[in-house]
């Protein structure tokens, strides 16, 4: 059994150790603690509750199967999120490209100032939905950094890219979002596979 450092209050490490010792029920503790985070992470990528829960479930099962590979070198949250990201990436690969609300896009296209006229809350919601339409290499950093409130180092570790690359992608992703939301609303309805 791997030597996983267990600190006081480190429930995850304790549960991992118990599962690896044969008590699979201890995985329930991990599920309880992380279900919200993994479901919400999946939801940021698909904006579909059912699909988000299915994706999160797949991620938990994969994590359970791979639990013996967790050595405690990185935080459990980093390890689990990396597994979830890989799972979501493969789940979304075969999914049709995502588009934002067509009615809102049409309205805004007819009325150039429609975006400005929307309430802040609606505008923010449309902007968040627009994240799903970004190319994968910009979408993933933005979801992890902003929605999951991870710091640069942690985000870079999960995505396995240097921090400099991460900063550049965050900047480019923000620029794309800014451009798409500035009056040219029709531009939001683009394929997520756009290069």
């Amino acid at each position: 059994m791997p030597n996983i450092p267990t600190q006081p209050g480190d429930d995850d490490a304790a549960d991992v150790a118990r599962v690896l010792a044969g008590d699979s029920g201890a995985f329930g503790g991990i599920v309880q603690r992380w279900q919200g985070r993994l479901v919400n992470l999946a939801w940021r990528f698909c904006r579909d509750r059912m699909m988000a829960e299915d994706m999160a479930q797949d991620a938990f099962v994969k994590a359970f199967r791979a639990l013996h590979t967790f050595r405690g070198d990185s935080a459990f949250s980093t390890w689990l999120t990396a597994i979830a990201m890989n799972t979501y990436r493969s789940c979304l690969r075969d999914r049709p490209p995502y588009t934002v609300d067509v009615d809102a896009a049409r309205t805004a296209a007819r009325e150039p100032d429609a975006f400005d006229g929307l309430h802040d809350r609606e505008r923010a919601e449309l902007l968040r939905r627009a994240v799903v339409t970004l190319p994968v290499k910009y979408r993933e950093p933005i979801v992890l950094y902003y929605f999951q409130e991870m710091d640069l180092a942690q985000t870079a570790r999960i995505l396995d890219i240097p921090e400099g690359t991460l900063k550049a992608r965050l900047h480019r992703g923000r620029e794309l979002l800014r451009r798409r939301s500035s009056g040219r609303f029709g531009g939001l309805a683009v394929k997520s596979s756009e290069a």
């Binding site: 699979s24 029920g25 995985f27 329930g28 599920v31 309880q32 279900q35 919200g36 479901v39 919400n40 939801w43 940021r44 509750r49 988000a52 829960e53 999160a56 479930q57 938990f60 099962v61 359970f64 199967r65 505008r123 923010a124 902007l127 968040r128 994240v131 933005i142 902003y146 929605f147 409130e149 640069l152 900063k167 965050l170 923000r174 979002l177 800014r178 939301s181």
Partner: protein
């Protein structure tokens, strides 16, 4: 990321939180139990593969060594007999015999 927090940052930083449905954790644990009950994936049969590989190498090396030791004249005679024979039936019989031998070897190996 020393940029100032603008509207875009604020919009991205605040999103509604989705609460997992009530039976979600139980469903996950069921899926985990199912995964645990599944038989482990079949590992690649490295041992038989290695034995087979070694056997093939030994067989090929033996064949080459045998061919080198055989009387060149005998080989020429065999080749000549094939060349003199009626091509179609001779080759057909040779191929049929070779196929039967290969099939026999395969069946023997699969039975093990």
């Amino acid at each position: 990321m020393a940029q100032q927090m603008d509207d875009l940052d604020r919009a991205l930083s605040h999103d509604d939180m989705l609460v997992p449905s009530s039976g979600f954790a139980a469903r996950v644990m069921d899926a985990v139990q199912d995964a645990q009950a599944e038989p482990p994936l079949l590992a690649f049969p490295w041992r038989p593969f290695a034995i087979g590989l070694v056997a093939c190498v030994v067989w090929a090396a033996s064949l080459i060594a045998m061919m080198n030791r055989l009387d060149r004249g005998l080989l020429r005679e065999v080749a000549a007999s094939f060349a003199d024979a009626e091509p179609l039936p001779t080759y057909a019989i040779a191929i049929a015999l070779a196929t039967l031998i290969v099939l026999g070897v395969q069946r023997t190996l699969l039975r093990r």
